[in-house]
Symmetry: C2
């Protein structure tokens, strides 16, 4: 008998990724489309359903376990509703019903960092650990938690939002309403802003050369390249990012005491530039036993974490 497949859909702020995934997390076919913008949510969902049916249509009905959807935002996974997604401009969108009607298959909806955590747990940790924290370092910072081998959602599905824990109580205002959130200090947006500010303030740096003076082009990959060339500002930016992330993760080590912390997303690709200061902070700031126990891992799935995690959650929920 052909191996069962699930469809995973990762709906992000710029693109949608859809993939047929087996029970081990292997993608057999993948489609991408730009996130439909400037249209009502219901039309966007229809466009996504149309793309999804191209994949679903090619699979024998009995072989398809179901559909998992990961969305950046505040998700009511029980009701299958996107309560609010600032990146998509969605509010109260019953995405589960819309997709289930169009595809005739069971659908589940979950926060994008939660499905990423599920993929990290199932594929990268091979479900051999009990407790895991997955942190997505993209434009902002997301997080998902696995506790005792199960995805931990909390009372309203919000659990894991480490990007919106307070790093500096008197710090910069954050769009979420808080001040001094970790996300204001670590991430692609924060790093690019800081680089621009320093360069505009007169600091000499290779970064300016690498973007040929167009400071709007600064992004973590550029800062990474400059750091590898020994640039002082670039090295400082990575050290600061790693230390700040490390301070927050050290607190999480004492509160969540995870077996693994998995880092993914743009910033995680910098390897040691980010990891070394993170490791040092955990060693300096966490209790000894949990600091020794925790394994810090950079995700290999990375860009596919959302698609694979959404599909695996469907496999594990509908079977």
């Amino acid at each position: 008998m052909a191996e069962p497949l699930a469809l995973g859909i990762d709906i992000g702020g710029t693109g949608v990724k859809l993939g047929l995934v087996d029970r081990n997390g292997r993608i057999s076919s993948l489609r991408k489309m730009p996130t439909p913008k400037g249209v009502p949510a219901i039309q966007a969902a229809e466009a996504i359903a149309e793309e999804a049916s191209k994949l679903v249509g090619a699979v024998q009905a009995s072989r398809l376990t179901g559909v998992g959807v990961g969305v950046a935002g505040d998700i009511d996974s029980q009701a299958g509703v996107v309560r609010m997604s600032p990146n998509l401009g969605w509010r109260q969108v019953p995405i589960r019903r819309l997709l289930a009607n169009a595809l005739g298959r069971p659908v589940l909806v979950e926060n994008d960092a939660n499905v990423a955590a599920w993929a990290a747990f199932r594929v990268e940790a091979k479900a051999r650990v009990r407790n895991l924290l997955c942190v997505t370092l993209g434009t902002g910072i997301g997080g998902g938690i696995v506790v005792d081998g199960r995805l931990y959602r909390g009372a309203t599905g919000t659990a894991g939002e480490i990007g919106h824990t307070t790093l500096d109580p008197n710090g910069h205002p954050c769009a979420c309403g808080n001040r001094g959130c970790l996300e204001r200090y670590v991430g692609a947006r924060a790093m690019s802003e800081e680089a621009r500010r320093a360069i505009k303030g007169g600091e000499k740096s290779q970064i300016a050369k690498l973007v040929k003076g167009d400071l709007s082009k600064i992004e973590p990959l550029i800062v990474q390249r400059a750091a590898r060339q020994g640039d002082r500002l670039a090295k400082r930016l990575w050290k600061d990012a790693g230390e700040r992330l490390g301070i927050s993760l050290a607190s999480m080590v004492n509160v969540l005491n995870p077996d693994w912390i998995v880092l993914s997303g743009g910033l995680s690709r910098a390897g040691g530039l980010l990891l070394d200061p993170v490791r040092r902070m955990i060693k300096e700031r966490s209790f000894q036993a949990p600091a020794r126990a925790v394994k810090l891992v950079i995700s290999r799935l990375d860009q596919d974490l959302g698609t694979v995690g959404a599909a695996l959650l469907a496999h594990d929920s509908f079977n």
Copy 2:
């Protein structure tokens, strides 16, 4: 048939409390003793076992489910060993084996804040919520977490140590090795120190009168009384404590997304003096959905939380 009982033992830095407890968390008999000090851990354990056998001896063997022990410190609950308890001066003490040998009953050992969380979950929340954070505000700050109706220990039994999460990255050094831990700013020790510093610095306050000038006598209850009399310093100390605790709890609301947060211990008895600023911080700093969902509760069991929780954990583990 007589209702089953379990023995709960709460071993704290100053006193030991032992109680026979039924499956609903009601204490039928209670004994107290000062914590044996200045003797090897093995002798201390023998003294506790002797006191315990007085309670156990009065109960029909078939009626006693088992023994639960809560200890302040770093506990290996799987091995039944106190890895380290600074308050007791214990290191690598196999307390489970020592008590099981003396009492001839199954024994479990757990961190004191974890058993407190279990009592809060079972008795105060009547096991009707899924996820709960219990914070003990004593000399320092402890914490325990219930996830999906189960005590959450993490990889090494450390989970829940909210007292040792970073409130101020550049703050005061903490005995744990970190800087700026919440515990350095909130708790009986922190509050008394701050009061003394302000009064010695020349600030006028009722607090000095209430302790008749003996500043070593300052404790939260005194500061509470002064605040009720309208004393400015006292009111500020409570506002600061509540806001600082609230900033940390607001982060926990976004990460753990609990149904309930239960506060216990000395500081929690101040009621609104502490709770009002805590509530305000959660409202201002957490995401809306989890902030609305979380219920903030002051423990009624309070002083008995450890004894009852340890016994209930024995009921729930040995049955």
